[in-house]
Amino acid sequence: MESVEAKFKAAMIAAAGAVVQAKDLLTRADQAIGDGDHGIGMARGFRAFSEAIEKIDEPDVVACFTAGGRALMMTSGGASGAIFGTFFTAAGKGLPAGIRPSTPALAAGFAAGLQAVKDRGKAKAGDKTMIDAAEPATAALVAAGDLPLGEALAAAAAAARAGAEATRGMVATTGKAKALGARSLGHPDPGALTFTIYCERLASVMA
């Protein structure tokens, strides 16, 4: 039987693949409020993310987050590369080596990643960024306590989706979209969509 570590590694690779497949959708979302390169950068970064994770022989949560995050940060470029790279590398750094994939472990990793993103980008919930998806997803993981990981991730993915949808009603205050002011209303934040797509596939593989 497949170990939970191997299953988690496969889920991380599949989740990255889902973001790569969504390249055109993310590009269109960014054309509406940004400069249209979010899909290109994320596809490049998450491809490197999955390649780095595939090379890990002894998969554990920390190695997957750290190697994937570093590869993404080093290849993606732009604000989104720095933000998503920071999220995953900090998630890895925030956990003890060798920790097994579990709901409390993922909750702690996501919380560390979210805090690092806030520190790096100086943004907060409500600023129309990926934080608006990552914060409710992290809260859902924390609230799930000791529920099985598949169930907890499903709740996190649903919370991320709701958070990403809610960014339609927000005015951007950071990144290139901030220059649009109220014209950014009605469009979801591309980074929040990317985070949601990643969580949804992670949840479906771990279910």
Partner: protein, 330 residues
């Protein structure tokens, strides 16, 4: 409609731009093997090194601004996207002469974060860095964090001269910050550029309208006006720039008239002429004038005006010799 461009596979575009710069450099610039970094072949020993770089597609900023008195290395980002920490770090090590490295970047969220991460990694490697951000677009309020336009040219020219004279890292960063604080820019866009990887236009604008204050990536400006003649358009821009300081009679400025990509030198001359007239009416002396493509966005049409309010020190450094990768005459 697909825009015609003399490019190859977009995946190789950033590399091919840098390779072209090397070919034009008379042997004075090389490219690193594994990353898209340009570096001078003969950096003066013991100088504080200057690393610049941002998204590609805005040439000659920054790929063309490498040479004695300018940058020592350029970290080339992907199209319109900040360079990654890996690229900036490689440029840092390639340029470092042991006296520290000055990062000069335009103020965008992506550049800010990637340079911040690179500075942390450089510190881990024992290399001291300072970062100065140029953000001078007066179409945005200061508290919003103004974006960088062509004004980065002046930050680089003056701190490049200071480093060539032997300034240490603190002094080089201090003069760069003084320049950044005294810069004001404003652009006016006539028609869009396009993204070389997607072929998509960066914004849309009516045939008979211009947008004042639009950013180089098509970010929204402050006003959409009916296309006007050069003089009233220039007056409007100079007055907005001068009012932002505000400039007073007796002040001295350097002027940069920048082509956004597809505007003719003919038009820039007409605009420059009026900018000088308007500044003279305000009692302001123009000590130096630079005209041409400095920060472009593909075939975007329009121009930007940048003023730098100078003191004696900045004026001296602005006048020091410098040459870029391709202009090779003493």
């Amino acid at each position: 409609m697909v825009v015609k461009k003399a490019i190859n596979d977009p995946d190789n575009l950033v590399r091919e731009i840098a390779e072209g710069v090397v070919c034009a450099s008379h042997g004075r610039v090389r490219i690193l093997d594994d990353v898209n970094v340009l570096v001078r072949t003969a950096i003066e020993p013991d100088k504080v090194a200057i690393v610049v770089g941002g998204g590609s597609g805005h040439e000659p900023m920054y790929q063309g601004l490498i040479g004695p008195g300018f940058a020592d290395a350029v970290a080339c980002g992907n199209m319109f996207a900040a360079p990654t920490p890996e690229v900036i770090l490689a440029a840092t090590h390639a340029a470092n002469q042991g006296r520290g490295v000055l990062y000069l970047q335009a103020n965008y969220a992506g550049d800010n974060m990637n340079y911040e991460i690179a500075a942390e990694l450089a510190a881990d490697d024992g290399v001291e860095t300072r970062t100065v951000r140029t953000g001078e677009d007066v179409s945005m309020p200061v508290e919003m964090g103004r974006r960088g336009l062509a004004g980065s040219f002046f930050t680089l020219k003056i701190s490049g001269a200071a480093c060539a004279e032997g300034a240490d890292l603190e002094a080089a960063a201090a003069i760069a910050q003084t320049v950044a604080d005294n810069l004001r820019s404003l652009s006016v866009a006539f028609s869009p550029g396009s993204h070389p990887e997607t072929g998509e236009k960066t914004f849309s604008i009516a045939d008979d309208e211009v947008e004042v204050g639009m950013g180089v990536h098509g970010e929204k400006g402050v006003a959409t006006l009916k296309m006007a003649r050069a003089d009233p358009l220039t007056d409007l821009m100079i007055d907005k720039l001068a009012g932002d300081y505000p400039l007073e009679g007796g002040d001295r400025v350097a002027l940069l008239v920048n082509d956004l990509g597809a505007t003719t030198l003919m038009e820039l001359y007409v605009v420059t002429r009026r900018a000088h007239q308007r500044l003279a009416e305000l009692g302001v002396t123009v000590v130096d004038t630079w005209i041409g493509p400095y920060c472009t966005t593909q075939e975007m049409a329009g121009f930007s005006l940048t003023l730098l309010k100078v003191d004696v020190r900045m004026e001296q450094l602005l006048g020091r010799p410098a040459s870029n990768e391709s202009f090779l005459r003493p």
